[in-house]
């Protein structure tokens, strides 16, 4: 189930990026070849970028690829790590709840504001936080539950990586 969701999200991410490339590159070509351009592409590619960022943030939470510092936690024993992970996930959950409530509070304003060029209600853009907050919130709740029951694996206790680069893959030279 989770793997299916991640694959679905990955497909959406790839498609959003491909569409952004098509729109922005298309505009460069149109400008030089036909001296024209599609006016919606600036706005729409920005919105795709927002969706990409906030969907990707959930996926990154799932596979622990958000940037962070693990050097201090790595020095602790299992007990210390459990405490840190508990506090950390509780704070993440708190942030998610606040983000969700904030989006809800602003929903009416965003729903009645239309994007200047495409006319899309801005709730479709800002509303992506519902998804992000819910997704990451659920992740934090599940982690907290497994910490409470002591069933959490050691490798799950460190949820960040210090490397800003994509993980090295087999096809890298």
């Amino acid at each position: 189930m989770t793997r299916l969701l991640v694959r679905l999200a990955d497909a959406v991410l790839a498609l959003l990026l491909a569409a952004m490339v098509a729109m922005v590159f298309g505009n460069v070509v149109l400008r030089y070849v036909f001296n024209s351009g599609i006016t919606v592409s600036e706005e729409l590619s920005r919105f795709f970028f927002v969706w990409l960022t906030f969907i990707g943030a959930v996926v990154a939470m799932g596979d622990g690829s958000h940037l962070g510092m693990d050097s201090l936690v790595a020095r602790l024993g299992r007990r210390g790590r459990m405490v840190c992970a508990a506090v950390s996930n509780a704070l993440i959950l708190l942030c998610c709840v606040l983000l969700f409530l904030g989006t809800l509070r602003q929903h009416e304003i965003n729903a009645t504001t239309m994007a200047p060029v495409t006319g899309i209600p801005m709730a479709w853009v800002f509303g992506v936080v519902y998804l992000t907050a819910a997704g990451i919130g659920v992740h934090a709740v599940l982690r907290l539950a497994r910490i409470a029951t002591g069933t959490i694996r050691d490798d799950e206790l460190i949820e960040v990586r210090e490397d800003e680069a994509p993980v090295l893959r087999e096809d890298r030279p």
Partner: protein
């Protein structure tokens, strides 16, 4: 007695977001408004401006004002046309002929009619200030006739009517962030842009643009927008002071803006820009070509707003 009347004022700081830098005449307007609120409230109500979009662009700052996380913003109508489509009337090309017309319409019943629409979307307009008449610059050739717009790559405000207007003239309307304009003009990614004199001078566009055409194709009003959520927590006396001081600021802001425009124009010439006007006959052709813009956007703007503004203009011009 002064002591008694000042008891109704509380210590308050109103933070104002500005997209422009503090040298812009908006600074003079806010200084006058701030001096007025300080004096009228015995030093209790303070205006605290933030410049250069430090608190975000017009759109995001307007949203903050609507949700009550920021007290004030000086903004063009652009971020509001999406919520109140009738405000699009001010984006129509060649709506006002001169500043006097704009002042009369905005300070009169038409201005009030638009302002009355704002509380429903979480904002209160304290007064109409101005960014001013917009003109065209480019690096290719002087624009003296309709055909000269053809094929010119123009950076245009991200606004449907503006984009439509320049497309209708045959230009390639390229949307672009304000901070990128200078560099894009310099490297000729775009050929031209359109802005009031003050912006053209402040942004040093004269360094990278040869031709300034006094196209006067649009007048940009500025709203002094106050957060409705915050407004409702103020006493009636505080509200009155804000409104009246915004009017004091308006007088100063418009005065300085118009004086500085003259100086700016002279400076732009001194900096080597070739300045030209469009002959009346050609201007008529351009207006004729743009009549379709009025038709195309009339449904969105709405009959009531159009009739009101055109009616006012007719009355003013009839005299």
């Amino acid at each position: 007695a002064p002591a008694q009347s000042q008891a109704q004022f509380q210590d308050r700081v109103f933070r104002v977001s500005n997209g422009v830098s503090k040298e812009h005449p908006m600074g003079n307007g806010l200084a006058a408004m701030g001096a007025c609120t300080l004096e009228r409230t015995g030093g209790k109500m303070r205006i605290q401006p933030y410049w250069d979009g430090a608190l975000g662009n017009d759109l995001t700052a307007t949203q903050s004002v609507r949700s009550g996380t920021l007290e004030m913003v000086l903004t063009s109508t652009a971020p509001l046309t999406a919520i109140i489509p009738s405000l699009g009337v001010f984006d129509l090309p060649f709506l006002f002929d001169n500043e006097e017309e704009a002042d009369k319409v905005l300070d009169g019943k038409a201005g009030d009619w638009f302002a009355a629409k704002l509380p429903a979307v979480g904002a209160v307009n304290l007064a109409w200030w101005e960014n001013g008449f917009r003109h065209t610059t480019n690096s290719r050739h002087p624009i003296t006739k309709l055909e000269d717009f053809q094929g010119v790559k123009m950076r245009v405000m991200q606004n449907t009517i503006f984009i439509d207007t320049f497309k209708e003239l045959g230009s390639n309307a390229v949307p672009m962030a304000f901070s990128e304009i200078y560099s894009a003009l310099e490297t000729k990614t775009v050929d031209g842009q359109e802005n009031p004199y003050n912006n053209i001078e402040n942004m040093k566009f004269y360094e990278v643009q040869k031709y300034l055409t006094l196209s006067k194709h649009a007048y940009s009003p500025t709203l002094v927008l106050f957060s409705k959520r915050v407004w409702d927590t103020l006493s009636a006396g505080e509200q009155t002071v804000l409104k009246e001081c915004a009017a004091v600021g308006r007088a100063e802001q418009r005065k300085v803006n118009r004086e500085k425009s003259k100086v700016s124009l002279a400076n732009l010439k001194a900096n080597g820009m070739t300045v030209n006007e469009i002959a009346p006959a050609e201007l008529d052709r351009i207006r004729g070509k743009l009549a379709v813009i009025y038709d195309r956007h009339s449904a969105t703007i709405g009959k009531e707003a159009l009739d009101l503004v055109f009616g006012e203009l007719k009355a003013i011009r009839g005299k």
